[in-house]
């Protein structure tokens, strides 16, 4: 009887809520042999409990919490019915061989491990896609002047973005090769994000002044070169690009560029040739002082400084684009243009905006080709590629045929380019573009090409109808 009582107390003690927790927490505990029918009853009861617990949330914490809540009330009520011992008698054996509490514990551990592993994996994937690159791999910069290429590389090495490098190099080009570009001009930038497969065109092309009249321009532009001047877009285009994709501070970028002008550079062959080819003699004193010092043209390799441009770039870097579009620089440009018969006004500058647009595109030989939309001739380039793709040019095709097809295709593309204009002022341009970039239209145009004979430019090329527009 004493043995039986001890056995019962031991069983009761093991079934207290505290010990149940121990069981769930540690899967391997010393096992006791089940005792006959009592063990069979435990098994049945345990199976019922497992079935219940199996319906609970798989989250280990909530599982344990619910298990505890399930057991506490029944234990305490039965405990209250006992006079001396707080323990109650039970016929269930929690240590039976089939007790699945140990399996539950293993599940918790596995689940926790899996959750942790998944969390780490997701975090790593997010870091790869959205984080800063951890490995500084390759990059390349190409420009028309070695000094500007070096500046672009310098910006990349300072952890600047590709757009930062392009901004610095483009402004540098206006210093080193002032005959081709500069802050008094404009242009277009195409930006492509490889990872997101997203592209943007930043159009900072010059716009016609509000006071311009075609008749006056035609009659007098040679005598009044001020009439030729459009609203410069370079500074605003660069600033827009920096706002969208810049990483280094704007002032730092322009400071780096200003240093090129400040520190000096060697005259390029291209600039020297352009100066040598100058024909007009009525350039201003400032022009002569800059490009023909002492009456002699700059020669290749000569060392020059452009302190004037360095001052402007530093000013725009510290004060922002408002220093160019609305400040003293605007007044100075307007005044100078008026001196040469031009019609630029302050409103032309305040109304100027660099545009952010989508490029036109086509798939050529399994590659996506992106180019600027109108008023740029990108759609004509797309047409040319679409036409050429249909000729199935390979290295097996004779070079004679390939060259003939390219020549004839370019005639068509160049002719079509002349049908383009600014879509902001003439919405019918959009319809033309849709047609021009379509593969079916390219197929039609390809049929116009005679494989054995060249045809005169502009003949037999159907132009697209004009649906609206000022003309």
């Amino acid at each position: 009887a004493a043995e039986k009582e001890a056995s019962q107390q031991s069983t009761l003690g093991a079934y207290s809520p505290v010990d149940y927790m121990s069981i769930t927490s540690f899967p391997r505990l010393p096992e006791e042999e089940p005792a006959g029918a009592a063990a069979e009853g435990c098994l049945r009861s345990r199976k019922e409990e497992d079935a219940f617990l199996g319906e609970q949330d798989t989250d280990p914490d909530s599982f344990l919490k619910s298990a505890r809540l399930q057991r506490l009330p029944s234990s305490s009520s039965e405990m209250g019915s006992q006079d001396v011992s707080p323990l109650r008698e039970t016929s269930k054996d929690p240590f039976s061989a089939d007790c699945s509490c140990r399996q539950d514990g293993l599940t918790v551990i596995i689940t926790a491990c899996l959750t942790f592993a998944m969390g780490v994996t997701v975090a790593l994937i997010m870091q790869i896609y959205f984080g800063d690159p951890q490995i500084f791999h390759q990059g390349a910069v190409v420009t028309d002047a070695a000094r500007c290429t070096a500046l672009g590389i310098e910006v990349l090495n300072k952890q600047g973005s590709s757009v930062d490098a392009a901004i610095a190099a483009a402004l540098c080009a206006g210093i080193i090769n002032p005959h081709t570009s500069g802050i008094g001009g404009g242009g277009v930038m195409l930006v492509h994000d490889i990872r997101k497969n997203e592209s943007q065109v930043i159009d900072f092309r010059e716009t016609a002044p509000f006071g311009i009249q075609e008749e006056g321009l035609q009659k007098a532009w040679e005598l009044k070169p001020g009439l030729l001047v459009g609203v410069p877009g370079m500074i605003q285009g660069m600033h827009k690009a920096h706002q969208l994709h810049g990483r280094l501070p704007w002032s730092e970028l322009l400071g780096l560029t200003a240093n090129i002008a400040q520190d000096g550079f060697n005259v390029t062959h291209d600039l020297a040739r352009a100066i040598a080819e100058l024909k007009e003699l009525n350039y201003s004193d400032k022009f002569r002082e800059t490009f023909l010092p002492d009456g002699q043209p700059l020669l290749p390799g000569m060392f020059v400084r452009r302190l004037d441009l360095a001052t402007i770039l530093d000013l725009v870097g510290s004060e922002g684009v408002s220093a160019f579009y609305g400040g003293n620089l605007t007044q100075e440009i307007i005044s100078e243009v008026h001196n040469y018969g031009g019609v630029l006004l302050e409103e032309d500058f305040s109304n100027y905006n660099a545009l952010v647009e989508n490029p036109v595109h086509t798939v050529y030989q399994g590659h996506l080709v992106l180019s600027p939309p109108p008023p740029h001739a990108g759609p004509a380039l797309i047409t040319a590629l679409n036409i050429l793709e249909g000729f199935n040019i390979t290295s097996q095709v004779t070079r004679e045929n390939t060259l003939h097809w390219i020549a004839e295709t370019l005639k068509i593309a160049l002719d079509l380019a002349n049908s383009l204009g600014d879509p902001v002022c003439d919405a019918s341009v959009y319809h033309s573009v849709e047609d021009m970039v379509s593969k079916s239209k390219a197929g039609f145009l390809r049929q116009l090409i005679n494989d054995s004979q060249s045809f005169p430019s502009g003949i037999n090329i159907p132009h697209f109808s004009m649906e609206s527009g000022p003309p």
């Binding site: 791999h137 390759q138 990059g139 390349a140 910069v141 190409v142 420009t143 028309d144 002047a145 070695a146 290429t149 672009g152 973005s161 757009v163 190099a169 483009a170 090769n177 002032p178 081709t180 570009s181 500069g182 802050i183 001009g185 277009v188 930038m189 195409l190 930006v191 492509h192 490889i194 016609a208 311009i212 075609e214 030729l228 001047v229 459009g230 370079m234 291209d270 201003s284 400032k286 402007i312 109304n351 798939v363 050529y364 030989q365 399994g366 590659h367 380039l381 390939t402 060259l403 003939h404 020549a407 160049l414 002719d415 002349n418 383009l420 204009g421 600014d422 060249s454 697209f464 004009m466």
Partner: protein, 190 residues
């Protein structure tokens, strides 16, 4: 036009082409040193437009309007997935840029030539007004004869257009200048 091409470690490709129109633009330089453009010359003018190509009417001058432009920064990527060839091209010299970029793309993407060779090969450009086919100094004499046999009137010039480029294949990036340019430079971060 000036060209700037960048393929950076941040997986961005950037191509910029900017210009003043003619060399030195309008020739007007402000006291502070800003050389002003002559971009109004890129608009079509009525009398010269009508006897050449009537659709040029869309490019007539108008206040606030941007003129037709042959500034053609061009970017190429694989049409599916991320693996393959990426290209970034720019060219100068007006409508010759369109002809030149087309031929470089054919060389790289169709004839599978490398970028350096593609940029250095001779190029052609049809002059629409005169119906003359211009070829540059790199264009082989043999090819000129081919073209003349097909009825093309060929005229050889020194340089048609400068095309620079950058190419990325997987993680290998290279920047290449047109060998016709003495001043241009391409640099690669290794």
């Amino acid at each position: 036009a000036s060209q700037v091409l960048v393929m950076g470690p941040d997986d961005y490709i950037v191509a910029v082409v900017s210009s003043l129109n003619r060399p030195f633009g309008s020739g007007i330089i402000t006291p502070s040193g800003i050389l002003l453009n002559s971009q109004m010359l890129d608009f079509s003018w009525l009398n010269s437009t009508l006897n050449y190509s009537s659709p040029g009417l869309r490019n007539l001058i108008q206040p606030g309007k941007r003129p037709l432009s042959f500034l053609l920064p061009t970017i190429v990527r694989p049409s599916e997935g991320m693996c393959g060839t990426y290209l970034c091209l720019g060219a100068n010299n007006g409508d010759k840029a369109l002809s030149s970029i087309t031929q470089v793309l054919v060389n790289v993407l169709t004839l599978n030539k490398n970028l350096s060779e593609s940029l250095s090969l001779g190029r052609l450009h049809p002059q629409l007004q005169s119906n003359i086919l211009q070829v540059d100094s790199e264009f082989p004499e043999e090819d000129i004869k081919f073209l003349e046999s097909r009825g093309h009137q060929v005229d050889k010039v020194d340089v048609l257009s400068l095309v620079h480029g950058a190419r990325r294949t997987n993680n290998f990036i290279i920047g290449v200048k047109d060998p016709r340019s003495m001043d241009a430079a391409g640099a690669t971060i290794l």
